[in-house]
Amino acid sequence: MLDATPSMEAIEQPAVINRGSRFSGYLRAISAIVWKDLTAELRSRELLSAMLVFALLVILIFNFALELDIRTRETVTSGVLWVTFAFSGTLGLNRSMAVEKDRGCLDGLLLAPVDRSALYFGKALGNLIFMLIVEAIVLPVYSVLYDVNLFRPGLMAVILLGSVGYVAVGTLLSTMAVQARTRDVLLPILLFPVVLPVLVAALRACNGFLQGFEMVEIWPWINLLIAYDVIFIAVAFMVFDYVVEE
């Protein structure tokens, strides 16, 4: 098992081994990973296009599956949105980790003299950004197609909180799934039972904002989302090492 000590930094700057430099090294590692994913994606655009096309297709299917007439539209919108996000999110999570594994980047990243959790945060942040980009495109499309105003601050805050929770657990689980034989099929099976509270809470909160419920009815959901996000980011941070050991 690789030892994650900042030995290389010690060689370069022998006098500067203090908390500050180690932490900024940590942050630099995270931003390096995020930057790598973003620039790779900018060039190939394969991840985003796949997620986006899939999301739009799901919305299209829902159009025929559910009677989205003016009256039912309001009640059904948040459900349609979150099912779309959940499924296209799975695509993104799978691809993101599969790329690392297949191109051997995972081993390279593991050799870096930095705490393993930086790898987790870097990938999670990258996954989050991709998910948010897809959501940012889906929202206006849906708004236009169904003449529903989705641009309320409360709604967008909930989508952000929900995506954070989804990606926090999803990144951890996809790291495991990608190392299994049943790779692509396994991630949804692992993820959905565990991420259910996020989906329920985000769905109900979005619905509350869309239908103009009182904040007092929506707060429990937002609190649940925040609690979930905090708990699972902490858990993932603690166990991630065990998932990438060689």
Binding site: L172, Q179, A180, R181, P193, V194, L196, R204, P220, I231
Partner: protein
């Protein structure tokens, strides 16, 4: 095959006897409930079985955690053994809950937080086994199992909470009774005896079955070793 230890043999007998007594208490000693009739008796075992399912899951998560910390694969054996028991008992919980619901609320399924959470927990167990099946390397298999069992275990109470909130904000009226009352009966003393005795009996059943399943696991590993020896010879 290693001979059955005396304690386990004794446990077998004791547990079987306790189960018979529990059946007597539940079927005859406890009075018939006024509103729901005889089907209410299922409740005693329904809760006990559900309790065993949750306990089994907790044991798996803790054993997984200890395995991660210490690397001793015997803890992984415990985790795996416990999951199987949990899977069967949680299934029994779900089915008995459904059977209980049918005459009371005239539906085979209620979106009661407990029933839904049990189902989600069952799905997590199944996912756990599928995860293990998909990983070749035994050490990695154990580690991944441990991580997932911990993540899964933490998520289950949160799932329960989310559905509970869902039900309080959007109560679903099924039939005449409040579905949230499922399990919160006013129990008279005889019922209490049957209830707690069942809980105790099933806990002991869990321990006994866990022990047996562990022995099976150790035997399976011996067979694996023997296979490898024969293949390499």
């Amino acid at each position: 095959m290693e001979p059955i230890p005396k304690t386990l043999k004794a446990l077998n007998w004791i547990t079987s006897a306790l189960l018979v007594v529990a059946l007597y208490l539940v079927l005859f000693y406890a009075p018939r409930e006024a509103v729901m009739g005889d089907v209410q008796r299922v409740f005693y075992f329904h809760v006990s079985v559900g309790w065993v399912g949750g306990l089994a899951f907790l044991v798996t998560a803790i054993a997984g955690g200890v395995y991660l910390a210490r690397g001793d694969h015997r803890w992984d054996q415990i985790a795996l053994a416990s999951v199987e028991i949990g899977l069967f008992f949680t299934l029994a919980n779900i089915i008995s809950g459904s059977v209980w619901a049918r005459p009371i609320w005239n539906t085979w399924w209620t979106w009661d937080p407990r029933l839904v959470t049990a189902s989600v927990m069952e799905l997590v167990y199944i996912a756990y086994l599928l995860l293990r099946q998909g990983v070749e390397d035994p050490d990695r298999r154990a580690r991944f199992g441990a991580v997932y069992s911990i993540v899964g275990f933490i998520s289950v109470p949160i799932t329960f909470l989310s559905i509970r909130i869902f039900r309080t904000i959007h109560p679903v009226v099924i039939g005449s009774g409040d579905p949230a009352a499922m399990g919160s009966l006013n129990m008279d003393p005889k019922m209490r005896v049957a209830f707690f005795f069942s809980l105790f009996t099933f806990t002991l059943i869990y321990v006994t079955l866990l022990w047996h399943r562990l022995r099976l696991q150790r035997l399976a590993e011996r067979v694996e070793q023997a296979k490898r020896k024969v293949l390499s010879a």
